[in-house]
Symmetry: none
Subunit: 226 residues, 2 copies
Amino acid sequence: MKEILVVDDEARIAEICRDYLQRAGFKVITASSGEDALSLARARRPDLIVLDLRLPGMDGLDVTRALRKQSNVPIIMLTARVEESDKLIGLELGADDYLTKPFSPRELVARVRAVFRRIDIGPGQSDVIRALDVTLDVPRMQARVGRRSLDLTSTEFELLAMLMRQPGRVFTRSQLLDAIRGVETESFDRAIDAHVKNLRRKIESDPRNPRYVLTVYGVGYKFADA
Amino acid sequence: MKEILVVDDEARIAEICRDYLQRAGFKVITASSGEDALSLARARRPDLIVLDLRLPGMDGLDVTRALRKQSNVPIIMLTARVEESDKLIGLELGADDYLTKPFSPRELVARVRAVFRRIDIGPGQSDVIRALDVTLDVPRMQARVGRRSLDLTSTEFELLAMLMRQPGRVFTRSQLLDAIRGVETESFDRAIDAHVKNLRRKIESDPRNPRYVLTVYGVGYKFADA
DNA sequence: CCGCTTCTTCACAATCCCTTCATCATTGGT
DNA sequence: ACCAATGATGAAGGGATTGTGAAGAAGCGG
């Protein structure tokens, strides 16, 4: 099993990354400073490192530079701003990919998988999600119910994908919000309700009695698991 | 082992094709009429068909048309005449490559291998790209919609080819930009919009309601897949 | 060096859809 | 059965995204 080192000084972001990566089947260790990251990387030799560019003290570039002297471990850089220079410098120094905050945790998982796919030609995770008679083709952003193809917005698609990856599991509104809008954006929980409403209108034959996207009173939503 | 169906009413030509293809390591079956070809194709489901355009009764075009209704089997068309129209019609209807008589048997073997190579590698390298009623002849840089031939600039052609190699798959602007201008050049994402606009003006009968090049709001563009 | 084609950029209009709000329906505990 | 909390829904607003024409660059051939 692949081990990933996540380095971020903001506990909440590191938390979310760990959460999603673990659920995607990776083993995750974390560090909150550049120094810790370096020693952990040397001790554990992770298969990949997710590295925040902005770190107190030794920042992401310093860490990359130091690591590159002795290892070719893939690095995915997290950058706070869209500054082109940061991207270029990061890639120049040996980052394999970068993500700009705010990013969706799902996007991170996708990038991680992509990096691993590039490295070992071993078959990556499936890009198609199925549950009941609903099928999602993620790279094509296509959804089908039975033979009927759905016309979903990207937000609706992300939402549905999140639910369908673990049918039966309940997600809170804020989890769903994080997944589709990125961890740093903040909006009202109830926005999810609206998306669920629109999604149901498209996916359910009788939106009043949903068969796919179910409400869990007081908690959130889940995709039906049987 | 790959099985190839050779269809030609001239026994001598069919003979020579079989001879060379077998020596190249392929299993070969033959038919001498369009009707036989169709039933053999249905019964044996060959991996590739070499098809003479001129056949008594049901000719190569009829056979292609009939086959295409139920299969995507690669077809290499043999044409007796050098007339452009024949080539174009053949490609329009779904041939993957064409050879003009007289041809060298070695050339045939080379083309057959090329087709298999493309297929094994997956989509993306084919000489002829088809989707809906749009056909691209990549080496000739020719594009057609139905019978109408389009006059595209090289950028427009590349853009369209990129989209058509994976119909239905959504590409972001930066992916498209990388593909047509190379990763080193940097220009504004929205330049793609301009090319899409120009492309639509040429390919769509009603650019306001595109049938081929579709917008995926918030993501990018895709070629229609149904 | 000029004119033509093509590509890119810009500005503004048109469109989309995300969010919010207000209201009504449903839920579940008492 | 009541009622407070939670969810559903339609409508409206506004920010973000895309469409489009025109004008400015950049090639290219003559």
